[in-house]
Symmetry: C2
Subunit: 759 residues, 2 copies
């Protein structure tokens, strides 16, 4: 893998890693996710493509808690190409100089190779595509064919191919992938239009249309319409002269009337418009440039670190929905079928922070998704005999529990507090009090009510307890008094009063109406406070070590350094599943993660104690583990460890380090990578009203520069040659900034920028 | 359902309950289990039959802990009959006077009806069959056809039909049943012989042969051999005169060379022999009579109670293996596919007690099964990083864990102590010290070693704890310090010293060699004792209430009397699965069961307290719950409650009270029914060396009479008109007997019998 400042390049065709690279080279625009599949390969698993749309689910394979399951649906392979040169079909044998390249700046995925025919004639082929960012219902594709040795006849079928299934039965490993369920219940084809109906409970329909043009040596090539078996499109036939490129440009428009009926007109307009590939690309690319403006982190660092970091951020931006508040980012986004395409807690805890700082509107949209699914969370709490709102562990766009019955994952109720935490984080960073009035307060109250109903008062110790929960360490079915869960639940309970304070100040009357509509009275609010103050947080007697749960220390120690897992996960190698609850084994960051979320609430000594205690007990059997450890290590000044974790995190998918990239790339880890860099190496945090910046770079790095949002303003910080500077790019207020140990106030009037020699 | 002294009779054909009746009318001989299917129905699910053989498993559907799963295999329907009268096939429409009858005394299942042809001619048909008890590889069948109105031509195909699958996909409810897996990998057919190869890992082969004769009006009818599509056999054609019965007699012999190669000669001899149906029946029936001798309990009670009780005992005897030590009784025996035909703890705790007292040799054979699977249990402990032997929760004849990965049932490690408990019970009752020397001691030592490695010493309280286990109350994934588990584990640990005492006295040298071979030294034995004495048994401070686990009382109370489950199980109706661990809900007898096992170790006050505390908290969501409650109620003198539970238990399958009889009848419940009667109503127990008899009859009963084994002797006790008598039928020793509150010694020399006016 070659990593440059703005490109991820893979040279040579490695059949073994082909489908893993398909996932790696996923592009998208939050509406579509398009794996890096080969358009011209219509044989076997490769022919299935890998094209997903946000919120488009089919009938699932497994029974789940709430009833019939759903799984992200692989839609038709709408970029199908069949290329016939001198009567011979271009296939993947007899190719040379194969390369795949992802341009991170503009999201164009390019594939090239030279193909040799049976008569030894060579042809250069280039495949390009992008998911248009300014018109998200569109995918654009360009094919260029050049005869290198002699002229030839060329026939190109440019199709939409509905002869696909999902890529996997259920979402389970192990690999390689196997054809999965056929979700297409019925189809109507007519030349360049296709309508399919899915097998989901809503009978979702997708309306697909394409327009294709082609030129040979800059002369237009006419096409004939084509409707075949489950596929349709246009067919071009021409003669290629040597070195006179044949160029085919195609655009596809897809919409689901169930999601957005207005798109019917949009599709008609799309078909009418005379937009060229270059015109569409220009608009698309400028959209991407704008997004990079407050997202990019320029490093003075090895090119690999720079390019790989940008890859992580690129994929987050490529999957975040711009067009709707009705979906959010799944664990594997729109890049694969693992976890049925569903959304989990990592959306709030791992992915959203990047958006708070780089694109608050996206963060807002994704939190609004939780507001739209609040009724489902209220319903879920009721089903389980609790009050308020319990957000399900795993949800599709409908917000209903999609966890399988047997897994026990539904004990991981901390997700409810994670969502409340994210809401408060977002509001504190954006100062978006409107959101508090319009949805967020309702979520905070309903989730707090859940915790009131979920905890138990114990007369023996006068404390409140939360029993039988699964914390971030998923290696217990459940524990009592998970420190992470209880701490976040207490924060959730306290956030009602916090939000109420803001709302009252904003508009006393309006906020009282809101409270009344929720039936919130002061007695209930007081109980929330009382419980928050008395929820047990297990710790050693001196308070120095926060305990993962109330019996973690009673378990048997296990020296992970003496265990050889042969490169596999602990749980997939030597560790018997049934013995897990007897040992001090942490699957992934738990207490360490808690302390990352509240960096100013724990002393450095507490953090150090926790890191040193849990790190050797942590199996890192999840992609959610490296980055929190990297962040904590950076905050503790353990720069060698921090950089080591950064490498593991930033290259996780680029180098397929967990050997499961094939099933989709790891969005939580992308967000975690950003957190190591932004919170850890750049040392950015917020303490009360103050923006704190205190960089600690690994020795491999010399500096950085970045822009970000804070309280509606845009800041830029730069660090190089031991000099740290901060500038207010735009923003109307006064902003307290702490550069390392010195406090400043920035505003439009007073100094807009500070430069400081770093420690 | 009509229940007489010795018959279960169902009149009329109820299509809705047909497959549930199939299970109810299961007959068997421990080698075969044969559901009450209709031989002449070759349409749909009915055509699949339902015929199982002990230890014959096919490839299963679900992944299990130990790898690929196995499931009890439905073997070919070897009793297939096609009956054509005047060219019209006898089918299940147009029938009258339909009845099914099971003779409990001799295990013959009879089905009768009158069939009317399209030309309105009536024919009486009788189908009889039995699984021969003195030659367990044989099944016998008899068909009688009588023309009632006019003569007719008759054609009968008497076949073995391999066109079957299992009756269900996996073993899951809900019903109705659906065709399951086809386990037959290949077949060779030749007239009256069939060889099939199964799809299991051993490529098990079944060799099946039949011989058939027929008479019409006492004249032999000749047959032609027949080999069809997946079926073969003999075809008879004749003319029926009015009222001149056509009688067809058939015998089938089946063996699996993998299980018993010597049966090849036996099958040849079977085919040569001229045995008639009546001759075979006579030998078979006398075998049954002998078994009833020490098993039957004659009641002075309503006929329903008598017949239903006998049904429970009949099915236990009909499933217990007489021919081998290599299998034991599965939860649904050989009557259905639920639980994949596997053996669980209920074998030892619910079913074996009946055999200790009625047929100690059967009990011995089934405990030897646990000895043969000891290596698998040792392997299992090792896999899970423990020492000694951990008996898997669910096993086929191979003794390997068959629990599904997700279920968590493997936390129910009490099964290991249950097996040790059963061994000690059996040895104490039978005085079979030979078994201790030959296998049982090894089991006791290895299981005790498991507990040593499984428990944790806590320096804080100086006690030992067993963490993360599932007790008999399966409504927790796991708890810490389950009273049931810890008490039985302690007993298991103590039983090593107990057994050692007996062995040393029996033969000091031989026993030392055994200990040496096991590497057992006194230091280890002392540690076992030390742990046994310090294992925590959770209880209230005054010791009055034994607590199910260490936090049962901290959970939320739930008033079951206020919950309407609409006749369903709590868990299948209103109770959310995820909330279970937060509530005081007991799925089935737990502490109550513990006290039943050690009736002399708890005070009456402790038992009463436990019964009154747990009974209202018990959902009875298992067929293992009524009978322990019935027994405890009887011991506490709560005769109304006891009789109520007895009714629920004795009629569970007869009246299909849990609506799941279709998936197989409930053998643990059969054993539990016997325990209510034997231990509860008849008041039999053993205290040290003394046989205690202290009847407490429900008011519906006036008396009883029964014979049973005790320490190698046979006793008879009778109770009627308030007079209790005990007689030593045969036995060489001196036996201490306590009749209610008075002690006697019975022997051959001194009084052999005592009669006592009861309290």
């Amino acid at each position: 893998m070659q990593i440059t400042q703005w490109n991820i390049i893979s040279e040579g065709l490695d059949q073994q890693r082909r489908y893993s690279r398909d996932a790696l080279f996923t592009i998208g625009n939050g509406y579509f996710g398009i794996r890096g599949f080969f358009e011209e390969d219509d044989q076997g698993i490769g022919a299935l493509g890998g094209l997903y749309m946000a919120g488009i689910f089919g009938k699932g394979e497994v029974d789940v808690v709430s009833g019939p399951s759903r799984e992200l649906c692989n839609i038709p392979q709408v970029l199908r190409l069949r290329i016939i040169l001198d009567g011979e079909k271009v296939a993947l044998d007899h190719i040379q100089d194969f390369s795949q390249e992802l341009n991170l700046q503009n999201g164009v995925y390019t594939r090239k190779y030279v193909w040799t025919s049976k008569t030894s004639a060579r042809f250069a082929l280039v495949f390009e595509r992008f998911a248009r960012m300014d018109q998200v219902q569109e995918i654009w594709q360009r094919l260029t064919v050049v005869a290198l040795d002699s002229s030839a006849t060329l026939k190109v079928q440019s199709l939409m191919d509905s002869n696909v299934t999902n890529l996997n039965w259920a979402s389970k490993e192990p690999w390689p992938i196997q054809p999965g369920r056929d979700h297409i219940a019925s189809r109507t084809l007519r030349d360049n239009q296709m309508q399919i109906q899915l097998d989901d409970a809503d009978d979702t329909v997708l309306c697909i249309a394409q327009k294709v043009k082609a030129y040979s040596g800059y002369e237009a090539v006419t096409s004939s319409p084509y409707t075949g078996d489950r596929e349709c499109g246009s067919v071009f036939e021409t003669t290629l002269a040597v070195n006179a490129p044949f160029v085919l440009e195609k655009a596809v428009h897809v919409y689901a009337p169930r999601m957005d009926a207005r798109q019917e007109q949009a599709q008609a307009a799309f078909l009418d418009a005379a937009t060229t590939y270059d015109e569409a690309f220009e608009k698309h690319a400028s959209c991407w440039l704008k997004r990079w403006n407050t997202a990019d982190i320029q490093l003075l660092a090895p090119e690999r670190d720079q390019g790989a970091l940008r890859y992580n951020l690129f994929e987050l931006m490529a999957v975040s929905p711009q067009h709707t508040e009705r979906v959010s980012i799944g664990a594997r986004g729109l890049s694969g079928e693992m976890y049925e395409g569903c959304v989990f807690w990592d959306n709030e805890i791992f992915q959203l922070p990047f958006f708070y700082w780089s694109d608050p509107k996206s963060a807002h949209r994704m939190l609004r998704f939780r507001y739209h699914t609040l009724p489902a969370a209220i319903e879920r709490a009721k089903e389980l005999w609790f009050k308020g709102a319990l957000y399900p562990w795993q949800v599709s766009e409908k917000g209903k529990e999609q966890t399988i019955v047997e897994g026990g994952a539904y004990y991981a109720i901390h997700i409810t507090a994670d969502i409340a935490f994210a809401i408060r984080q977002y509001v504190e960073l954006s100062q978006d009090a409107d959101f508090l009035q319009n949805g967020a307060f309702e979520i905070l109250v309903q989730t707090a009510r859940f915790w009131v109903s979920r905890c138990d008062a114990d007369p023996a110790d006068g404390k409140y307890h939360i029993r039988s929960v699964r914390g971030p360490n998923e290696y217990d079915v459940y524990v009592d008094d998970s420190a992470y869960t209880n701490y976040l639940a207490a924060y959730n309970l306290r956030s009602v009063a916090w939000a109420w304070g803001i709302l009252k100040q904003r508009d006393a009357e309006q906020s009282q109406r809101l409270a009344d509509s929720l039936g919130l009275i002061s007695k209930e609010a007081e109980l929330m406070q009382e419980i928050a103050n008395n929820l047990v947080i297990p710790a050693t007697e001196d308070g120095m070590l926060i305990l993962e749960d109330n019996r973690y220390r009673e378990r048997r120690p296990l020296d992970l350094t003496k265990i050889d897992t042969g490169g596999k996960r602990l749980i997939d190698s030597v560790m018997p599943y049934e013995a897990l609850p007897l040992y001090q084994i942490t699957k992934q960051a738990d207490v360490v993660l808690l302390m990352n979320l509240f960096p100013h609430n724990f002393t450095d000594q507490q953090k150090k104690t926790a890191y040193e205690y849990y790190e050797p007990r942590t199996a890192h059997d999840s992609s959610l583990s490296y980055s929190p450890h990297g962040l904590m290590a950076a905050r503790l000044g353990l720069m060698t460890e921090a950089y080591d974790y950064f490498e593991k995190s930033v290259l996780l998918d680029v180098e397929d380090r967990q050997m499961n990239t094939v099933s989709g790339i790891h969005y939580a880890n992308f967000g975690g990578t950003w957190q190591i860099v932004f919170y850890g190496f750049m040392g950015i945090s917020v303490n009360g009203d103050t923006l704190c910046i205190s960089p600690r770079l690994p020795k491999q790095w010399q500096g950085f520069s970045t822009k970000f949002y804070f309280r509606g303003a845009v800041f830029q910080i730069q660090y190089r040659n031991g000099e740290l500077s901060t500038e207010l790019i735009c923003g109307d207020g006064k902003y307290m900034v702490m550069l390392e140990d010195e406090k400043f106030i920035l505003s439009n009037e007073k100094p807009k920028a500070i430069v400081k020699k770093s420690l």
